[in-house]
């Protein structure tokens, strides 16, 4: 990208991009740590993860203020304008990712007993891996300004939805088998839902990266495969 005639303008945009990168890295860490805390029942790690989320909130506010300033002082146009709009939304999504990871960490503390069966968590672990790779891919697409990579991230979200659906069924089976599992499975189910939502935010980010780079919206309908409603006969 050619540089602006006004150097300070470039610096301001770069500063925002740098903060998005920081938010992205932090969000990834929060997911890793909260899931680690869940798997190992590490209450300390869970507490630290909850505390770390504050930084994401700060960064979001900081980015919003910077963007407001750039709009007021530079009147961005074209790709700069799209970038400002996109980074604002991306920052919002990353802040939400942090909240969802924090919720997982809170569940670790709320689950009074330790994780009785690791097999219950295996499906969840797989889902987390996929979600993390999605988030990483979309952050890379953002950094590289690569619309095609962003589009592919968006397409892959259905895999996470599919795993969530099967995980839902699995947990339901466990609960029916033995009512003593219900409390733990309910917690895990909420964790799974949080992870699935993180995947949705990665998709949002992908859409914004695509718009930022191309100026066009991805609007073709993606297949929705959350079929958890079909299991219970009502909305999940």
């Amino acid at each position: 990208m050619t540089e602006h005639t006004v150097t300070a303008y470039d610096q301001e945009l770069t500063a925002v991009a740098g903060r998005i990168a920081e938010m992205g890295g932090l969000a990834e860490t929060l997911i890793t740590d909260s899931v680690m805390a869940l798997m190992t029942q590490d209450l300390d790690l869970a507490q630290r993860t909850i505390a770390q989320d504050v930084r994401l909130d700060e960064l979001l506010l900081d980015i919003e203020m910077r963007n407001v300033n750039i709009i007021a002082r530079r009147q961005p146009m074209g790709q700069d304008l799209r970038e400002i709009m996109a980074t604002g939304r991306i920052a919002n999504d990353l802040e939400r990712v942090g909240d969802l990871a924090k919720n997982v960490a809170k569940r670790v503390i709320a689950m009074d007993s330790g994780l009785k069966s690791k097999t219950l968590a295996i499906g969840l672990e797989h889902m987390v891996e996929l979600t993390q790779s999605q988030l990483k891919a979309v952050l890379d697409a953002y950094t590289r300004r690569n619309a095609e990579e962003a589009r592919l991230v968006r397409e892959r979200d259905s895999e996470i939805d599919a795993i969530y659906t099967s995980l839902f069924r699995e947990l339901l089976t466990y609960m029916m088998e033995d009512p003593r599992h219900i409390s733990q499975c309910a917690h895990l189910l909420f964790c799974a839902k949080n992870i699935e939502r993180i995947g949705d935010h990665a998709t949002n980010i992908a859409e914004n990266v695509y718009y930022m780079v191309t100026g066009e919206r991805l609007t073709d309908e993606r297949p929705k495969v959350d079929e958890t409603g079909a299991v219970t006969g009502q909305g999940a």
Binding site: H4, R74, Q75, M77, G78, L81, R82, R217
Partner: protein
Amino acid sequence: MTQMPGTIKAAAMTDTKISARNVQVYYGDTHAIKDVNIEIGARAVTAFIGPSGCGKSTFLRCLNRMNDTIDICRVEGSIDLDGEDIYDSRVDPVQLRAKVGMVFQKPNPFPKSIYDNIAYGPRIHGLVRKKADLDEIVASSLQKAGLWNEVKDRLDGPGTGLSGGQQQRLCIARAIAVSPEVILMDEPCSALDPIATAKVEELIDELRENFTIVIVTHSMQQAARVSQRTAFFHMGNLVEIGDTQDIFTNPVDKRTQDYITGRFG
């Protein structure tokens, strides 16, 4: 993948008012306008933007043959107004300029009364016979230019006694007085403060109901605010023309992109 839902083609071309084909302009040996082809829609505002010396004002001045007044200036190609070539030898440039009025960068009222500034055009073009008709034209022109309430009690006062913003609206009223079809504006707000600028922009927005307006401006924000279509000129070439919304959010050409985002080397 489609256009954003917001990209409504509401600003799409209306009927063509001016159609320029293969226009070349030379100042002596300098090739100032290079093969410009453009259609300008009726009853809409078209903005010309581009860096200094890109040819936007030169091209604007071709549209009412203002360049005829410059000896070394030569115009080739054809420019049609309502399908008729304005460079045809049978066209009287003075009559043409009554149809295609012009407002300049610096407000330039005649050193006459406010009334006479407006009445001058209708008088020399013989548009009126009776004093009452002339009064009517003066009043309605000033009203259309949004200046009536400010000057109605001092029509005999000198036009040069008005503030800069009022003088510019007086010049717009003067242009309107001869019932033109097209109004060319060459950086009409560059000498005005933001409030006076806003009044002129509000006026431009109202005038486009009845007039075809072409505005040259150095302020991209102004082009974005007032126009429906925007044309970007660079080094004598028309690089890109499109709906204003598209030009400022997602231009096609790299040069347009660089210019509107402030990246021009």
